[in-house]
C-alpha cells in the first residue's frame, strides 16, 4: 500500500505527513524505535482494523489520516517496545501501569486474593515469560492503540476473569436449574387462559426477535444482566437519565407492538389486555434466546448454559416495569 499519496483536500495533511508527525509525537526514539518500525507498526494496525471502515486499499487518504490520528501512538510505541524487550520501555511501563493493573484486578474481582492472582498471571504474560524458556512473547504485542493502554489492560483482565468466572457459574446454574424445575408445580390453566398465553408467547417472540441491536443491548444489560442505569449510561457515553427514558420508551413500544400482534391474532382488545396482565411465569417464553436469535454464531456457548429461572424472573421484572 502506498502511503505517500497527496491529501485529497487542500488544507488536509497527507497520510505520509500524518505518520511523520505521529512518529514525532510518539517519542519512539526514547525506546530505540526507528521510523521504519513505526510506519510498519501503524500499517499493521490499519490492516488489522481495516482503517475502521471495513475496507483497506480503497480507503480515501483523509480517512486513513484520520484513522492514524486516532491511534494512541505514545502508548502503542511503549507497548510494542516492551514486547520487543526494551528495558527503558519496560521500566516506564511498570512506573505507569503496574499499580493500576493490580488495583484494576481488585476492582474487577472484588476479592484480594483472586484479584492478585489474576493480575499476577497477566503480569507474567505481559512480560512474556515462558515456562519453557522459549522466545519471549508478550501479550503487549497485541495492543493496537485503538483505545488507551490502561483501558486495554482492564479489558484483558475482565476478559480473563469472565472466562474463568463463567466456567464456575455454569456448574452452579445447572444445579440451580434442576432444583427449580422440580419445584415448579403450576396450576392447570383453563382452556381460555391457555389460548391467551399461547398467543402472548407467540406475540412476544415475534416482537423481541425484530428488535434493533441497541434495543436488545439495553434490554439484555438492564433486565437480564442486572446492570444499573449508571453503568449502561457510562458505557454508552450518555447520562443515566437518557438510558432510563430510552428503556421506558422501549417498554411502551414493546407493549404496543405486542398488543397489536395479539389483536391481529384474533383476540379482542379486552382479551389482549388480559393476556398481557397474566403472570409471566406461566408463559413459555425464553426471553434471552429470543433476544439473541439474530446472531446465533456469536452466542452458541451461552445458550446451553443459561438458566430458565433467570429468564422468567427478568421477564417478570420487565413486565412489571411496564405495568407501572
Amino acid at each position: 500500500m502506498s502511503i505517500g499519496g497527496r491529501a485529497e483536500q487542500s488544507g488536509t495533511e497527507s497520510v505520509a505527513a500524518t505518520l511523520v508527525r505521529l512518529w514525532r509525537e510518539s517519542c519512539g526514539e526514547r525506546f530505540g524505535f526507528a521510523y521504519g518500525q513505526f510506519e510498519e507498526l501503524m500499517l499493521e494496525v490499519a490492516a488489522s482494523h481495516h482503517f475502521g471502515c471495513g475496507v483497506y486499499e480503497a480507503t480515501p487518504d483523509a480517512q486513513k489520516a484520520a484513522f492514524f490520528d486516532s491511534i494512541r501512538v505514545k502508548e502503542l510505541v511503549l507497548a510494542r517496545a516492551c514486547a520487543l524487550g526494551n528495558e527503558p520501555a519496560w521500566e516506564a511501563f511498570l512506573i505507569e501501569y503496574r499499580e493500576m493493573l493490580y488495583s484494576a484486578a481488585y476492582g474487577i474481582t472484588k476479592q484480594d486474593g483472586v484479584g492478585r492472582e489474576l493480575a499476577d498471571s497477566l503480569y507474567a504474560e505481559l512480560f512474556g515469560m515462558s515456562a519453557r524458556g522459549e522466545q519471549r512473547q508478550s501479550k503487549l504485542a497485541s495492543y493496537t492503540g485503538r483505545g488507551s493502554l490502561a483501558g486495554w489492560l482492564r479489558s484483558v483482565l475482565a476478559q480473563r476473569y469472565v472466562d474463568e468466572y463463567r466456567k464456575a457459574r455454569r456448574l452452579v446454574n445447572i444445579e440451580d436449574q434442576d432444583t427449580d424445575l422440580l419445584a415448579a408445580t403450576p396450576e392447570a390453566p383453563t382452556i381460555e387462559e391457555d389460548a391467551q398465553r399461547e398467543a402472548l408467547g407467540e406475540s412476544v417472540g415475534e416482537v423481541l426477535t425484530q428488535l434493533a441491536a441497541q434495543d436488545r443491548f439495553l434490554l439484555h444489560s438492564y433486565y437480564l444482566d442486572g446492570r444499573n442505569l449508571a453503568e449502561i449510561g457510562k458505557l454508552l457515553g450518555v447520562h443515566e437519565s437518557t438510558i432510563s427514558r430510552k428503556l421506558k420508551r422501549l417498554g411502551q413500544t414493546l407493549r404496543q407492538q405486542i398488543l397489536r400482534k395479539l389483536k391481529s391474532s384474533g383476540l379482542s382488545s379486552r382479551a389482549a389486555e388480559e393476556a398481557l396482565s397474566c403472570d409471566v411465569r406461566d408463559i413459555d417464553v425464553n426471553v434471552r434466546r429470543l433476544l439473541q436469535v439474530a446472531e446465533k454464531e456469536s452466542f452458541h456457548e451461552v445458550q446451553a448454559t443459561e438458566v430458565q429461572t433467570s429468564e422468567v424472573q427478568a421477564a417478570k421484572t420487565f413486565s412489571a416495569g411496564e405495568e407501572s
Partner: protein, 420 residues
C-alpha cells in the same frame, strides 16, 4: 473487519476497550454494539472492565476522557440541565448579535458555554479574544493529576525528556468540533514550523517542542484564520482551545496574548463579532447519520445511542432529527448534543420538516427518508438553518408527519406540538 461482518467469536480486547472509550468509528461501534446486544460474555467483559476503572481510579480524580468523549457524556447532563443551559448559551449570543447589528464592527466579548459551565473559575487575560490558552502546570497538584489522568502517556517522562508540547481542541462558535483544521506551530526564534491537523474530535497535539515562544496559526475552510502567541515551558503541556469564527478563509484575525499565558483550569474562550454574512450550516442525513456541513466541510452528528437518523430539519437555533424508530431529537448546539423531544403526537413519526407553512423550501430542501422514498432520493438531502442568516426562532415552524399522514406543528422549537 470485512463488510457487514459479524464477529464469528468475539471482538478482541482492543475493540472492547476502544468501544468503552468511544474511540471506534461509527461503523465499528455499531458492529461491536450489535455483538454486545447478543453476547453475554462480552457484555460482562466491558462492564467489568469499567468496574476495574471506576473503583480504582475514579475515586481519586476525574476520569481520563478526551475532550470529545467528555462532550458526549456531558450531553446527557445537558439534557438534565436542559432549559437553563440553553438559555445561558443562547441569550448571550443573541445579545451580542443584537449589538453587532446596532454597531457594526464593534468587537465584543461574549460568554462561552465553557465559561458558563464553570462560573467559579476566574477569567484572566480577557485580551485573548478568540483563543483560550491555559497552561497545565504539573507542579500544581490538582492540575498535575488531571493532566496525568487525561493522557497517561504524556506523564511518562524520563530525565532526558525536557521538551514541552502544545495540545488542544479547535471548535466553532457553537462549540462543535472542527475536524481537519490546520494547526501550524512556528518557533518565534528560528521560524521553524510544525503542522498538525485536528482529528475527527477536533483535537490536535504537537510534541515534542523545545521550550520557547511560538506562534500558533489555526485555519479551516469556511472559517477565519486565527493566530495566537504562546510560550512552551520545559516539560509542560500547553493547552490551546481555539474557537473559530465562520468567515472567508482569507480573513485573518490576529490575536495577541497577554503578557502571561492564562492559567485557568477551564477554557476561557470568547467570541468576536462576525463582520460578514455568515454562510448557514446545512444539515443532511447520510447513511443514517446527521451531517452538519458548511460549504464542503461536513462533520457527523451522531444521535444518542447510535440511533439511525432518517430525517433532519433546522431553523433558528434548533436542529431536529428523526430516527428510524420515530423518535425526535432536538439540538440547540448545531447537533453536538441531542435531547429527545417529548412525544406529543399520535402514531409513529415518519417525516420532519422546518420552515413556515408557506415556505416548504426554507433555507434548503426538505429532507426525508420515510418509507416509500427511493434510496437514491432519500440518501442525501439538506436543510439549512442556524447561523446569522437564519430567521428569528419565532418565525420557524417545524412540521412532523406520522405514519397515518397526520401533521403536527411546533412553532416554539419543538417544545410543544399541536395537531394541524
Amino acid at each position: 473487519m470485512a463488510e457487514g461482518k459479524h464477529f464469528a467469536i468475539h471482538p478482541d480486547e482492543n475493540l472492547l476497550a476502544a468501544f468503552a472509550e468511544h474511540a471506534l468509528t461509527s461503523r465499528e461501534h455499531e458492529q461491536v454494539l450489535k455483538h454486545l446486544s447478543t453476547c453475554t460474555r462480552c457484555r460482562d467483559v466491558v462492564f467489568l472492565a469499567q468496574q476495574g476503572f471506576s473503583e480504582t481510579e475514579v475515586s481519586e480524580v476525574a476520569p481520563p476522557l478526551p475532550a470529545a468523549d467528555r462532550g458526549r457524556i456531558w450531553w446527557g447532563l445537558l439534557g438534565v440541565a436542559g432549559v437553563v443551559a440553553v438559555l445561558l448559551i443562547v441569550v448571550p449570543i443573541a445579545v451580542y448579535r443584537h449589538r453587532n447589528q446596532a454597531v457594526p464592527g464593534v468587537r465584543e466579548q461574549v460568554a462561552s458555554g465553557d465559561q458558563l459551565a464553570a462560573p467559579a473559575v476566574p477569567e484572566s487575560a480577557p485580551s485573548a479574544d478568540s483563543l483560550s490558552l491555559r497552561e497545565i502546570a504539573p507542579a500544581k497538584a490538582a492540575g498535575k493529576r488531571a493532566d496525568k489522568r487525561a493522557s497517561p502517556a504524556v506523564a511518562m517522562k524520563g530525565p532526558a525528556d525536557i521538551a514541552g508540547s502544545v495540545a488542544g481542541t479547535v471548535a466553532d462558535q457553537s462549540g462543535a468540533a472542527v475536524p481537519g483544521a490546520q494547526v501550524t506551530v512556528r518557533a518565534a526564534s528560528s521560524g521553524e514550523a510544525r503542522n498538525a491537523v485536528t482529528n475527527p474530535q477536533g483535537r490536535f497535539d504537537v510534541a515534542p517542542l523545545p521550550p520557547g515562544q511560538y506562534e500558533v496559526d489555526v485555519s479551516a475552510p469556511g472559517f477565519k484564520e486565527l493566530s495566537q502567541q504562546i510560550t512552551v515551558e520545559q516539560s509542560e503541556r500547553t493547552s490551546l482551545d481555539a474557537k473559530l469564527e465562520i468567515g472567508t478563509a482569507t480573513q485573518t484575525v490576529n490575536v495577541t496574548a497577554g503578557a502571561a499565558p492564562l492559567t485557568t483550569a477551564a477554557p476561557a474562550a470568547s467570541a468576536m463579532v462576525a463582520e460578514d454574512a455568515v454562510p448557514p450550516a446545512t444539515f443532511a442525513v447520510k447513511d443514517g447519520v446527521v451531517e452538519r456541513c458548511i460549504g464542503t466541510e461536513c462533520a457527523s452528528r451522531i444521535l444518542p445511542l447510535g440511533a439511525q437518523a432518517v430525517s433532519a430539519a433546522a431553523g433558528g437555533q434548533t436542529v431536529m432529527a428523526l430516527d428510524s424508530d420515530g423518535n425526535v431529537f432536538l439540538s440547540n448546539d448545531q447537533g453536538e448534543h441531542w435531547t429527545p423531544a417529548r412525544v406529543q403526537w399520535e402514531g409513529k413519526a415518519v417525516g420532519l420538516r422546518a420552515g413556515p407553512p408557506s415556505q416548504p423550501a426554507f433555507h434548503g430542501a426538505f429532507l426525508s427518508r420515510s418509507p416509500g422514498v427511493s434510496s437514491a432520493t432519500r440518501s442525501r438531502g439538506a436543510v439549512a438553518g442556524t447561523g446569522a442568516a437564519a430567521p428569528p426562532a419565532s418565525s420557524v415552524t417545524f412540521e412532523l408527519t406520522n405514519d397515518k399522514g397526520q401533521v403536527w406543528v411546533s412553532s416554539d422549537e419543538g417544545k410543544t406540538w399541536t395537531a394541524k
